[in-house]
Assembly symmetry: C2
Homo-oligomer: 919 residues x 2
């Protein structure tokens, strides 16, 4: 059995394909050696040894000999000898799992020193300060990682404490100012500390050090940090880590040495130019510690950041030349933007690691597109490199002026942190009621609407606001949902904020903010910032929606268009939109939607004076009063639907009949008391007195409205609602068809839990639609289907399918009922669960495949078996979330539907799912 | 293909086994003919013809000839001829499905008359009044059933109108007083009506009449009544009905003729003696119409009811003798209590129908037991004839004095009707608060507690009340659940009642009832009655629980004991109880329980001053304040658990950790304002000021508490609750074990939706339990398991099972989440659904096998596959409902758990399920 894999000197036993065995770092070190890049020689101990170690709590016997052999190869390659005082080989011992787990596991550097070797090495190099710096670093890291000398309660790291004391005693401000003598004293103090805490002296034998470090690095796979990281990132515990044993090169030898990090392209802006930073006379850990400010690699970067520190380009054209060669080799060989760690030793460049570089959205898109143009990758590959949400989504969001934002943060202007519920940037004046928001917006103010939580009554206020801030509610609360559908910036569930409607103010700790105060919301990160920060719309919006920017002047929109063209080519899922108004439909079409997957009719009920009619309809006790109100509502609804059908130009439009519990529409008892004139008018219209009106309002209250009298239950209690809504839909469709625009209406019945519900309502719909179609002489086919949003609908989908032309999974409600999580109340415990690692994702954001997904899969199978022409879709919030879109593709849905601004994200995710399936 | 089956004259082509083909009535008519009982000859047209009729909208060609042949056999047997004026055969045409569908389908009598035949028949019989009475009945029934002459809007039946007019014109008060001449005039008027409404004259040809009637009776299978009845009773639409064509015999010929209904045993009291009633000079429809009061069959009955009408026994010993023979033959032949319809014609008895007689609970039990004693049936058969709930359950309920109750009803004292949520009878004085109920009960008053709805705070008030009345809430509302668990009488959800707590009164329409007014509740039928009505405990309770009645003096309890002995012998499911207190456990054991399947710890929290500690625990913001309150609660809980373990004597006791949302325990904001002293004390204890206290209370409010921060979510947010409750359970168990009584504790984690929840809480439980067990040196094994009450827990049961020793299905919550029905709010729409036939049963009462059951089945399969020793049970309300118990047996559960007073019902249902499976 082979346990060690040597690399170094343009030769390696492993290669980049062997990630499982060698870990990502080991495989890439081998690969770099193979292709002739300057890698210090070393060897990788395989992940199998780690697994052996778990199982038997020991290392395989054969390992000792293989390590000896590989070590000999390293000595030969580097021309140094492990344990030789005159020319010692020192080693770094580092972990390396299949997947990068940054900072989770442990590392030991400078291994192989003791008093004697240090002395010899100091003589050979003539640089005792450097050698004793290495030695004290070794004792400190080894003491921590291998001997597990950790700070005790209320103690700071004891090695750090000694180092600080030494600096103080010698008047040094940074480590570099410690002399060789001071470092030797420090080493003695370190050793005394080890003896005291560990009970045994620091091991002098290099081999003892080596085996201790190997065991410790394997052990670090199971430390708490690593365990939690794996749980959160879905990395299996049985994978184990490899250990990389590698010859040290020294960035801390003198001022002609250094260490740094590079990227083959700019990870922030995506430009195809070298990017990175470095520190002279330092080891890797110093860059991370952030005590000194690093220098940029390029002159370009130095200029852009207006930094005064010299660039490598200016400082050493030779080294910079080597670095450009490396950049080119890495990109050509790995075919993607790479990051890499390097050490400069006496004008020679060494590579210590490379991997695919992380990048932000803009950079990801730009790199992918440009690499296609450069002929390096295919469009299919490019599509798969762009994360739909984290990358592509960034092209669609308004953004803060970067500098202004940073200044605000630096000035401590972050007031609170909430859920980043509607991405983007918004700035404006704070108001606490929808009415005031509307009034102020009319006067031209940019408004941030702050509510304890929002309700459908706030819709007009939300529509005119730049951003929404709520003190309660999660990422799928009303505020968040509406905000995303409207593309509004939203920070939700800011528990630190106390809003007082009566006083028109909010408190954050001791700060009090009054109506009209300036505030800004960062919907990418969920920050609430004091004061104004300038924003601007995304280029994509400026070009495609606002049409204020010509495409020629919009390089980002050009990138967007290229990606969308490719994505549409490789997508088999139709992406539709959740939209209630013609403007939303137009936005969605501009962004690529193929229809309306969910038109919520209830949102229309809040327009203008309609709400009064809706209230009359709901509160009426006499069927004739209810019918009169419905009759007056019908033309309004008809007009809305006409607008949507016209905007959709023949694409399917799926309209959901009335869904929410009725009490959401009626005024509260308090508002009745506050507005006696309004209340009296309302009561008069439906032939009641005020007491009866209040009694009716009280009757509508429910303990658990989510599980209450809503959806098809309402439609069955009040069939006249179905009839009026159907008439409005069908008349609108006929009118639009008559005007020459094709139409494809689909009527959707919400909250079905029994096949009979759909069967009965279908009869009501057909009985209403038929005469209208005859009146218009129309041959139009109207599909009738069911939302599947109760577990029972999924469990009995075979029977439901007998009455349905289509199914659309309403995964918001389905998630609520499958878990028993109220989405309005779950913020508190979902937070707790994420903290203790029980939940990786909020299931209202990322579809729960084990539970909710199992119901969907079952429903698809049974639905198709009963009705093989049934059309299957999803219209919950998950329809725009990439991993959920993948799942939907996998179970064979025909379409996903999401809010208009998520349409491009869903299209890209759908293309990726299809490419992955066919890969 | 054979379509007609003749019967008559001790001969028949069919028999009792042919229900599917001949319907129940036809099969039994054939059987009665075979065994020599006096049945008028006739024939049955099979259900296959009905199915043929549906499919082709026509009758099979071969039917005409077969009907002719069978008709000839009838003529030969009866000695009369169809259509012969001198000696006419008249026919009855009646429906008869496999299962009795009483009154749902149509019948035509006296078929085969026209003017000429009537004239001849009148001459032959010398009884024109009789013949013209038959003729006018024929036209009326035929007009209604075959010609479909129905009342128009706002019209009464037009035939009835003419009949009434004729009686008025001739001064007759009852039909019998109409002369032959008056009847002939009426017939002419009827015919004119037919011509006007039907457009064609009434058919004179007997054959035309016959075929019209046959088609009409088949058609009546699909009338609205029959359709709804089948939907509600789960009878398939494709079965179809048979048609029975039978020679008429005439109860309306003269005063020596009559018609009636008999039972071979008393269907109310179960006594083994003939029971029944009859009318002289009448046809069957007259008995139903209830215009004249029928006479009893026996002298015994005449005496018991103190009726003055003569009995058949006294009036005609010969006929009575024939009837006793028939009684004996029927019981011997059919092996069960039978009912039968008969006609007396000139001193001869004819049987028109027999079937298994419906009986009330007491009668069912008594008949079953006595038939075993008589050697007619086996105990297994007896068990299967007793409906666990409708029959056996009646033995367990306190009852009203029958006469007093009837008097109250006759006097119009029914105030309102609600859900019969807790069966039984209760009478007392009305109070509107739990505190006042308690105070009054202490003073010796019998109390009826009326609340808009009840909450856990009312528990002490409920405990002392004779009955509970609520204006809101369904059959599984808090009131109903607690009432059943405590065996309380309860009428719930009486929407007609308006309760005003401030005024301490309730209004029912115009009536106002004040605190202290007398009222009675009939929990069998859901009636609220004005004034007191005497009650008494069931005999079973008096013997087994109160021990106030010796078994020798308790014949009903003797019956109960016999049935329970047999049932226990044939049961494989363990029946446990849902019980929170030692008294409840003792009751359950006396009634046969094999353990506690669900002990809800939260009910204990309302005893004495504990609620104050609970409130401190909940509202505390400092962990140390919470821990202090928990520490003070622990000994109280320990004491409760000790009582339960002692009472259970080594049977398993399953204790559920804290489940409900915390806000259920805290005082409302209003009550804080009303009780400032109490509030201040509470706030002081947890180091808050009043504003902070109110803020905390507000924070606990949730939009959908059923889906909120409760169950294991609470236990994970506040692990100290788990620890304290575990410590109380384990200490109690150890103490009881130490005292020499065996214990079997099981700890149950509520509302799991993810395997990780159970895994984590299991660790907390084990970490707490271990040191206590060591302290006591106990080897006791403590099982830890999960309630399965979210759909997700069922869907992921395979993974949950890895951490569970047992599963217990919490079908109340599971039903809520599977349907998306809030059990607190669903009353309104479930009512609507039952009205329109969408739901047969309330799924909170009868387990929904298609939806909830499918999840349970899946969970059992996956749970067992992952952990083959896992113990499976159910502890939702369905655990005591017979059809649900059958289902649980079928999917392989090991136990069901229900409220103490339902234990015997569940045991009987479990025995039946087992017998049925092994049949």
């Amino acid at each position: 059995m082979k346990y060690t894999y040597f690399f170094g000197g343009k030769h390696a036993e492993g290669d980049a394909t062997m990630r499982e065995l060698l870990g990502g770092k080991g495989a890439n070190l081998a690969e770099m050696a193979r292709i002739g890049l300057p890698v210090p020689a070393g060897f990788t101990i395989t992940t199998e040894v780690c697994q052996f170690d778990f199982d038997s709590d020991d290392l395989p016997t054969a390992l000792v000999e293989q390590v000896e052999q590989s070590l000999k190869q390293v000595e030969e390659t580097m021309g140094t000898t492990f344990g030789d005082p005159s020319n010692p080989l020192l080693l770094s011992i580092r972990s390396g799992a299949r997947t990068s787990m940054p900072g989770m596991m442990d590392t030991v550097l400078n291994l192989g020193l003791n008093e004697e070797i240090a002395k010899g090495f100091a003589e050979t190099t003539g640089n005792p300060r450097f050698v004793y710096d290495c030695y004290r670093r070794l004792i400190q890291m080894y003491g921590d990682v291998v001997l597990e000398i950790k700070p005790e309660e209320h103690e700071i790291n004891p090695f750090e404490a000694l180092l600080e004391a030494k600096k103080k005693a010698t008047g040094a401000t940074v480590d570099l100012e410690l002399s060789a003598e001071a470092l030797q004293e420090l080493i003695a103090e370190y050793k005394a500390l080890v003896l005291e805490r560990h009970g045994q002296p620091f091991p002098d034998d290099p081999k003892t050090q080596l085996w201790g470090a190997i065991r410790a690095v394997f052990r670090s796979w199971n430390n708490d940090r690593a365990f939690t990281y794996r749980a959160l990132n879905g990395i299996p515990d049985h994978w184990g880590t490899a250990v990389n044993v590698q010859a040290m090169v020294y960035g801390n030898r003198n001022e002609r040495c250094g260490t740094g990090v590079g990227f083959t392209r700019d990870p922030a802006m995506g430009e195809a130019r070298l990017y990175g930073e470095f520190l002279m006379n330092a080891q890797g850990e110093d860059v991370v510690a952030g005590i000194r400010t690093p220098q940029p690699l390029t002159e370009h970067e130095r200029e852009r950041r207006q930094k005064h520190a010299q660039s490598l380009e200016a400082q050493s054209p030779t080294l910079f030349g080597q670095m450009l060669d490396i950049q080119k080799t890495l990109e050509e060989h790995f075919g993607d933007m790479q990051d890499f760690e390097f050490t400069i030793e006496e004008d020679k460049l060494w590579l210590l690691q490379t991997r695919t570089g992380k990048r932000n959205g803009l950079a990801a898109v730009r790199i992918a597109v440009e690499m296609v143009e450069e002929g390096r990758i295919t469009p299919q590959e490019a599509l798969q490199r762009i994360h739909p949400e984290q990358h592509f989504g960034q092209l669609l969001q308004p953004v803060f002026d970067r500098e202004e934002r940073q200044k605000a943060i630096d000035a401590g202007r972050i007031l609170a942190t909430g859920l980043p519920a509607g991405p983007g940037a918004a700035t404006g004046n704070l108001y606490f009621s929808a009415n005031e928001a509307e009034r102020r917006a009319k006067q031209g103010e940019a408004v941030i609407l702050a509510r304890i939580e929002t309700s459908p009554e706030d819709i007009k206020g939300i529509a005119v606001s730049a951003g929404i801030l709520t003190a309660r509610g999660g990422a799928t609360s009303h505020a968040a949902l509406v905000a995303r559908q409207m593309g509004k910036v939203c920070v939700a569930g800011c528990e630190a904020i106390e809003i007082d409607y009566a006083q028109k103010q909010m408190k954050v700790g001791e700060h009090v903010f009054k109506a009209g105060d300036a505030i800004s919301l960062d919907g990418f990160e969920g920050l609430v910032l004091q004061g104004h920060i300038s924003t601007q719309a995304s280029e994509v919006a400026q070009v495609l929606l606002e049409k204020t920017l010509p495409i020629e002047d919009a390089p980002l929109c050009q990138l967007y268009n290229k990606v969308m063209t490719w994505a549409n080519e490789y997508t088999t899922l139709d992406v539709k939109c959740n939209a209630d108004r013609p403007e939303q439909v137009k936005t969605a079409i501009a962004l690529g939607a193929k229809g309306v997957g969910l038109c919520r009719t209830e949102h229309m009920f809040f327009e203008g004076t309609r709400i009064d009619l809706v209230r009359e309809m709901i509160l009426a006790q006499q069927p004739e009063d209810r019918q009169r109100a419905l009759d007056q509502l019908q033309p309004h609804q008809e007009e809305d639907f006409r607008g949507i059908f016209e905007a959709m130009q023949g694409h399917p439009v799926t309209i959901r009949l009335l869904d929410p519990p009725l009490h959401e529409f009626v005024p509260s008892l308090e508002s009745i008391d506050e507005n006696p004139v309004y209340a009296q008018t309302l009561a008069d219209h439906i032939h009641m007195d005020l007491d009866e009106l209040k009694h009716q309002i009280e009757q509508l209250q429910e303990f658990n409205p989510m599980l209450g009298h809503r959806g098809c239950r309402l439609l069955l209690s009040y069939p006249e609602i179905t009839k009026t809504q159907t008439a409005a839909i069908v008349r609108a469709a006929c009118e639009v068809e008559k005007s020459g625009t094709p139409v494809q209406p689909k009527i959707m019945v919400p909250l079905v839990s029994m096949p009979g519900e759909l069967e009965t309502i279908r009869e009501h719909i057909e009985a209403t639609a038929q005469p209208i179609l005859e009146e218009y002489g129309s041959q139009m086919s109207i599909e009738i289907g069911s939302m599947l949003e109760t577990p029972r609908a999924c469990l009995t989908a075979g029977s439901v399918a007998a009455h349905a032309d289509f199914f659309s999974f309403g995964t918001n409600d389905l998630t609520q009922m499958t878990y028993g999580f109220s989405r309005d109340d779950s913020g508190r415990y979902i937070d707790d669960y994420q903290k203790i690692g029980l939940l990786k994702n909020n299931p209202f954001q990322v579809l729960d495949q084990q539970g909710v997904g199992a119901l969907m899969k079952l429903a698809c199978e049974n639905g198709r078996a009963a009705n093989n022409t049934i059309d299957l879709g999803i219209c919950g919030e998950h329809g725009g979330e990439p991993s959920s879109v993948h799942f939907c593709h996998g179970i064979g849905l025909h379409s996903v539907s999401c809010s208009p601004f998520r349409v491009p994200i869903a299209i890209l995710a759908a293309a990726q799912a299809n490419l992955k399936t066919n890969a």
